[in-house]
């Protein structure tokens, strides 16, 4: 097992290298650079642009260098100094910007994931065991609605309801009075009061998908002979089902971790913008729009790293859960 983990970590190195190149190329693909998009914005708002000034900036930022040299500057900074470069737009180091947003992003991701599991597991089990019953149909119906409604509409609806009928402060993760305050119990409670809307909005589609997956998997497992063995042993039905087939049908839940991590950062961008959440998604979007290349590149690279880590974690968890999987 230890050997396997080391081997996987070593394999990650070339993968990461490839990903960094692809990330960098993606940023370079659209025509122009940060300065051209800045110039066009400035001319739109009627400001004058001094060509000499632009040329000097281009020199300073190294935007005139060949692509490979720019890539080398960027990647060597990350590897040798942990320096992710400098954001043109925010005039701050990229690392600061990212870490600032990472905490809230991670908290939101984990909370949503737990919500998805807590809801999807019992409903999925119920639906599989009482297939084609009234309850199953009701849950399936709700699940498909949750699946079909775009996240941002759900977000807007929930915000309206919370503001209009519950009189809550909505948007963001904190009420205005707590922002920039040190952590306290009241601030934590306030965070929870804000967290439920994004959690429901982000979790609904995932919940619906996992219910369907679990229902399908469990339906297959329920007909396996070992379930009859468990029943013939004298186990009550629910205990027999939870201990044996559910355990095996859980595998896709664990495998999901691999893609859930990056998904939660990039996938919920629209929701985050609508709800004004201080997470990584909106920042990434702005960086891409304004061709803030070091910020965008670092984000894409970070998402790649998260995917790799997520895959490794889910593979290892899968091995713990299912002894048939052995690593050599």
């Amino acid at each position: 097992m230890g050997r396997y983990v080391v081997k996987r970590l070593i394999y990650m190195v070339p993968t990461l290298f490839g990903m960094s190149i692809i990330a960098f190329l993606i940023i370079q693909l659209p025509p122009g650079d940060y300065l051209t998009s800045m110039i066009s914005r400035m001319t739109e708002s009627g400001e004058n642009v001094d060509p000499a000034q632009v040329a000097r900036l281009r020199e300073v930022y190294g935007l005139a260098d060949p692509v490979w040299l720019q890539y080398w500057k960027w990647i060597s900074g990350i590897l040798l100094r942990g320096d992710f470069g400098y954001s043109f737009e925010w005039n701050r180091p990229v690392a600061d910007l990212i870490w600032e947003r990472m905490g809230s992003t991670l908290a939101l991701s984990v909370a949503s994931l737990l919500f998805v599991w807590a809801v999807a597991l019992p409903i999925g089990i119920y639906s599989a065991m009482r297939r084609h019953s009234l309850g199953d149909h009701v849950f399936t119906f709700i699940g498909f609605i949750g699946f079909a409604i775009p996240n941002f509409i759900l977000a807007l609806t929930l915000m309206y309801v919370a503001y209009r009928y519950l009189g809550m402060s909505v948007g963001g993760l904190q009420s205005p009075e707590f922002i920039d305050q040190p952590w306290s119990w009241a601030k934590f409670v306030d965070l929870l009061a804000h967290l439920w809307i994004p959690i429901i909005v982000i979790g609904t589609a995932g919940t619906a998908a996992l219910i369907r997956i679990l229902r399908a998997n469990l339906t297959d497992e329920l007909n396996k002979p070992y379930v009859i063995t468990a029943k013939a042993k004298g186990l009550p039905e629910y205990r027999a089902v939870i201990k044996y087939p559910v355990r095996i049908a859980l595998n896709p839940f664990v495998s999901a971790i691999g893609w859930v991590l990056p998904e939660l950062i990039s996938g919920v961008t629209i929701t985050a913008i609508v709800l004004n959440l201080p997470t990584a998604g909106p920042l990434l979007l702005r960086a891409l729009v304004s061709q803030d290349m070091y910020l965008a590149g670092s984000f894409i690279l970070l998402m790649g790293v998260l995917t790799l880590i997520g895959m490794l974690v889910s593979d290892l968890l899968l091995a713990l859960l299912d002894p048939r999987i052995r690593f050599t």
Binding site: Y226, I228, T229, A232, L235, R247, L321, P323, R324
Partner: protein
């Protein structure tokens, strides 16, 4: 629902104290999409202490459903529509039929008073829990025990079912057990709470003959030690003759005949029982008068080897190598049937694939003389040559359900080889497919139907028609009859023999079933751990085997005659 029939029953006179379970007029229905299936109709039997009742029947006769109904394990769409299941014994008499799924009485009976062992040793235990934890669970459900005591008891149980190193094996997972060991563990679990009745549903069907003999021995021994009543469900008349005290024959959900084992075998009344026995006994003889092989062999295999693994891994560590086939040589003559028998893992299937070169041999030669012109060295053939070779040497598969594409019509399936090889198209192809179907005893008009419309035996006929499409010289049949019922098996074998009379064909017949090989083959090669340990005419191998391994193999085959039980004095082979 059961009140009606219960009232009509005659009051039973003083019940036999030996009877522990009495099933009276049990009926079971299943709601299907378009109809109601009466899976079990009016079935009655009794189980007596220390005795074995064998429930015999072919697939779909309702025997497994009956057995599971005794524990009230019934699929969602099924229901007991009448009759009683009376469990007697130390306690007061209890009727299992009206109990509900969640009642405590039922949970106490399941595993506590009636144990169940069933067919699939591969999948009847959970793959993600250790063997020990699954047995401990059964113990703690029915006996008041703490964890340590239950663990000690589990080790003792594993020792009783003769699993070596029970202290270590208790913490192993099912995939670390062989098929026979899994079935032993399953038996240990069924016996954990010391039940009065053991239901064994095809407990040895998926096992090799020698393992089957050992498991049957074990069950018998435990039954005698504990004085259990046993209900053994099987389709194998040989097993019935070896272990049964009484026999009940099931056909289409009814028990058509029941009585002591000797009466059933030597004085069967019902025509169905007689037919079942006839098709079993028929397979006990060799139908072919083996002509001395003449002329040049069609296929000469010399020193064939196949090693799996053994190549260095990525990090330079050499992996474990398995010699699947080791130094195998034989000749196959024109019109000859060569049987290859062996237990699972003996390399017989690999050998078949090596001859077809779907698996590349590691070394050795295969010389084919069937085609026109010069003999061909198969191991040296290129892609084009191999395609021509595959036209002459074809394969019939084991699983008639998995080997036919469910989305293709029979015409497409049978015509596929013709179409691919470009032999015929259009109306000519249709005509040829019709001929082939007629040839294997199917209605040519059914060629537009899909495989699901056919029974297992009919599907195997379709598979044979497909193999015959290109006028092959050699057919390799890999366990071609293993998935079929006894009577169907005999029909398919007769069909193949009949085809052989009309076409110049040779067969390589790979099977684990000695009786099938004996019936069908001229010569037999016995494989054990990749090697051919003995080769001779079918009669020689079956009646006077020379090698020690063959002797143990042959003597483990159950004899369908309760007056001459063979397994009791079988020779055991240790290597």
């Amino acid at each position: 629902m059961s009140v009606q029939s219960a009232v009509e029953l005659k009051p039973v006179a003083a019940p036999d104290p030996q009877v522990v379970l009495a099933v009276e007029n049990l009926s079971l229905d299943f709601r299907l999409r378009t109809e109601i299936l009466h899976a079990v109709r009016d079935v009655s039997f009794t189980l007596k202490r220390g005795q074995t009742l064998c429930l015999v029947g072919e697939s779909g006769s309702g025997k497994s459903v009956t057995a599971r109904a005794l524990l009230r394990i019934i699929d969602k769409n099924g229901a007991i529509t009448g009759g009683r299941i009376l469990l007697r014994g130390k306690h007061a008499e209890i009727d299992i039929a009206p109990l509900t799924e969640r009642s405590r009485e039922l949970l106490r009976i399941r595993g506590g008073r009636i144990g169940l062992v069933f067919q699939e040793p591969m999948s009847s235990l959970s793959p993600v829990h250790t063997i020990g934890s699954q047995i401990v669970e059964a113990l703690r459900l029915h006996r008041r025990m703490d964890k340590a005591a239950a663990r000690a008891e589990t080790i003792e149980l594993l020792r009783q079912v003769e699993i070596p190193n029970p202290e270590k094996m208790i913490d192993r997972y099912t995939f670390e057990f062989s098929g026979g060991q899994r079935q032993r563990a399953m038996i240990a679990m069924a016996l954990a709470a010391d039940p009065e009745i053991l239901i064994a549903d095809e407990p040895t069907t998926a096992l090799d003959v020698t393992t089957q003999a050992e498991i049957l021995d074990l069950i018998k021994r435990l039954q005698v030690e504990r004085g259990m009543a046993m209900l053994l469900i099987t389709h194998d008349m040989g097993v019935v003759a070896e272990v049964a005290d009484e026999v009940a024959v099931m056909h289409f959900g009814r028990i058509v005949e029941q009585g002591p084992v000797d009466d059933i075998f030597h004085d069967a009344r019902h025509p169905y029982t007689r037919r079942l026995l006839a098709s079993t006994v028929k397979l006990e003889q060799n139908r072919r008068a083996a002509p001395a092989p003449t002329g040049e062999p069609v296929l000469s295999v010399r020193n064939l080897n196949k090693v799996f693994g053994g190549t260095p891994g990525w990090f330079g560590s050499a992996t474990f190598a398995i010699k699947a086939v080791e130094d195998v040589s034989f000749d196959l003559h024109a019109g000859e049937n060569l049987g290859i028998v062996g237990e699972s893992g003996s390399g017989k299937t690999t050998l078949g694939r090596l001859i077809l070169r779907t698996v590349e041999p590691t070394s050795g030669s295969i010389l084919y003389r069937g085609g026109e012109g010069e003999p061909v060295e198969v191991t040296a053939l290129g892609k084009r040559g191999l395609r021509a070779y595959h036209r002459d040497v074809r394969l019939v598969f084991q699983d008639p359900f998995a080997s036919l594409n469910p989305r293709m019509t029979v015409k497409q399936i049978v015509g596929d080889p013709l179409y691919v090889s470009g032999a015929s198209r259009g109306a000519a192809l249709e005509k040829r497919v019709g001929e082939l179907l007629e040839f294997v005893g199917l209605d040519p008009l059914s060629m537009e139907r899909y495989p699901h419309a056919f029974s297992g035996g009919q599907r195997q006929r379709i598979g044979i028609a497909r193999a015959l499409a290109l006028d092959p010289k050699v057919l390799i049949a890999d366990e071609a009859t293993a998935a079929l019922d006894v009577s169907i098996r005999a029909q398919i074998l007769d069909l193949l023999l009949d085809i052989q009379k009309r076409l110049p064909l040779s067969f390589i017949f790979i099977s684990h079933d000695i009786s099938v090989v004996r019936y069908f083959c001229d010569r037999v090669a016995v494989m054990h751990r990749g090697r051919v340990v003995e080769m001779g005419t079918a009669e020689e191998i079956c009646t006077a085997p020379k090698a020690a391994y063959t002797q143990s193999l042959i003597s483990a085959v159950p004899n369908p005659d309760p007056r001459h039980k063979r397994m009791l004095h079988r020779t055991r082979f240790r290597a």
